[in-house]
């Protein structure tokens, strides 16, 4: 089984952390995973994207032309990257910041959810990445919340460990959306 996932948003939305987190969790579950970031030259506000591949086998290419899934956190990402999703794949779109150009009839499934609002609801707009993580884990059934929680401890720098409870809360809130 190989899952590939493309994540895009603007700097500050935690795109790279999200990719890191999912890949690390997969490693903790004994799978193979690759995480590959790409960002512009700008330090702030620019676009951030990354690709995660999770597989029971060795991961061949960490670069994916047409991902099976995409998490798109703002309008620019939606416009640019949604068409790349493989037919039969699915996308999670942050409808708080991106609603135009959502395809009506399409060969892919689009799950549009107000991720930023959900995050604000948990306590901080920046938790949008963890809400998305929860949703993705549950919907793809690729990772358990437990391994995500352990991975959090690894990918967050020590000084941010105090935010872990809030992060976990956001994860769960996301997951719950799919469970229901």
């Amino acid at each position: 089984m190989t899952l590939d996932l493309f994540i895009a948003g603007f700097g500050g939305q935690g795109v790279l952390l999200l990719g890191n987190l999912l890949a690390y969790a997969a490693i903790l579950e004994g799978k193979n995973a690759s995480y590959f970031p790409a960002y512009g030259v700008e330090k702030r506000g620019g676009a951030a994207t990354c690709t995660v591949v999770i597989s029971d086998d060795e991961v061949a290419s960490p670069v994916v032309g047409r991902p099976g899934c995409a998490i798109l956190l703002n309008q620019a990402s939606l416009d640019k990257y949604l068409p790349r999703v493989r037919p039969g794949g699915w996308a999670l779109v942050n409808s708080s910041l991106a609603e135009e150009n959502l395809p009506r009839v399409a060969p892919i499934e689009v799950l549009a959810l107000p991720l930023t609002e959900l995050a604000l609801d948990v306590g901080d707009a920046r938790l949008v990445n963890l809400v998305a993580a929860g949703i993705w884990a549950r919907k793809s059934q690729a990772l358990t919340l437990a391994s995500l929680e352990s991975a959090l401890r690894k990918v967050l720098p020590e000084r941010n460990h105090r935010f872990i409870p809030l992060n976990v809360e956001a994860l769960k809130r996301g997951a719950a959306l799919i469970a229901s």
Partner: protein, 356 residues
């Protein structure tokens, strides 16, 4: 719990170097390799080693020359423009028969270019970007694990043959994360560094590390000695990976990140019924000429994929059986121009002819 770490390629190469006993790092920041100096700045002081952020890439390669002349395992790292600046120093190290590790995490060019992955420095690395017709040992990792493993290997080869070694990576392999098992250093027996300066002891003969040979015939003889060692390298130390080469009608070849992409493409093509194999050079110098010759005695079509406009393909053409056809597919590097597995798979289908 397994022993796997989840780290960046750049961190892995630094960990590999430290595991190889390297205790001297000299470098200058440049994206996309600055994780390497950042890692060594953090770790070397703890190990009693030395980290110097040099004032330039030129100073860094010359500090490496100095430390290596004393017999120490030492390294530097940079990315394309910075590596161009090291060419004179590399030529001096080669001429002075000094080992050492230089990591090039290539970015796109020419000039300032961009920070995206590139394989356009192949010629520079394997043919000699500096003057004087020397060669480097050039290894091309294609995974985070290989960033670590080949750093270890590079130090051993470099010490054994007294030829500077280069790891030719790219910004994907440097920036990506995947699992790493940090094996400890294998015990290998290496010749003593009885050429290293150390302050001549009482009665001991003077030691001089130099590349200047002015006597009649001396420099020629020196060069022949170096070239004999290059031949030895080719005979003994060529490394490559083969995949489905037995029944292949088309042989794909690629190194580094394009080899990873090609692996997916080959998988796709095999699933689609194409008889395609892969030959991935791990050592770019020495180039696995014999492997190419042998495989192409049977498989008559070769597709070389590169993230440039055609460099390794020349070595492939010079290696294959005389009646084999070599095709090239490449793109110059740049933002948004990384080829995809789908793209390579299309090329495979194009050349594989009568398929499924």
């Amino acid at each position: 719990m397994d022993q796997r770490l989840f780290v960046k390629g750049n961190e892995a190469v630094a960990m590999g170097a430290l595991a190889a006993g390297c205790r001297y790092y000299f470098g200058y920041p440049i994206t996309p390799q600055s994780d390497i100096p950042e890692f060594t700045a953090r770790e070397l002081p703890r190990l009693g080693g030395t980290f110097i952020q040099a004032e330039s890439e030129i100073a860094a390669i010359n500090m490496l020359l100095g430390a290596s002349a004393c017999g120490m395992r030492a390294m530097t790292s940079s990315s394309s423009p910075g590596i161009s600046l090291k060419q004179e120093g590399l030529s001096y190290m080669a001429g002075s028969e000094l080992p050492g590790l230089v990591v090039n995490i290539c970015r796109s060019g020419p000039g300032l270019g961009g920070i995206d992955a590139s394989q356009a420095d192949y010629f520079q690395a394997v043919k000699g970007g500096g003057h004087g017709g020397y060669r480097l040992i050039v290894l091309a990792p294609h995974s985070v694990q290989e960033m670590y493993d080949l750093a270890l290997l590079a130090f051993d080869l470099s010490d054994r043959y007294r030829i500077p070694a280069m790891l030719l990576g790219d910004s994907v392999i440097g920036q990506m994360k995947e699992a790493l098992i940090p094996h400890p250093r294998a015990q290998v027996e290496l010749p003593p560094k009885d050429w290293a300066v150390r302050g001549k002891q009482e009665g001991a003969p003077q030691r001089v590390v130099k590349s200047l040979y002015l006597g009649d015939g001396e420099l020629e003889a020196h060069n022949w000695r170096l070239h004999e060692r290059y031949a030895l390298l080719e005979a003994r130390e060529t490394r490559w990976e083969g995949l489905h080469t037995d029944d292949a009608e088309l042989l794909v070849t690629a190194f580094g990140i394009t080899a990873r992409i090609a692996k997916s493409a080959v998988r796709m093509a095999r699933e689609a019924g194409f008889k395609v194999g892969l030959l991935r050079p791990v050592s770019l110098f020495p180039f696995p000429r014999e492997a190419f010759r042998t495989v192409t005695l049977v498989t008559k079509k070769v597709l070389c994929c590169e993230l440039n406009t055609g460099q390794m393909v020349e070595d492939v053409r010079l290696s294959v059986a005389r009646d084999a056809e070599v095709y090239f597919y490449g793109r110059p590097p740049g933002a948004g121009s990384l080829p995809t597995p789908e793209e390579f798979a299309e090329q495979i289908a194009r050349y594989c002819g009568g398929a499924a």
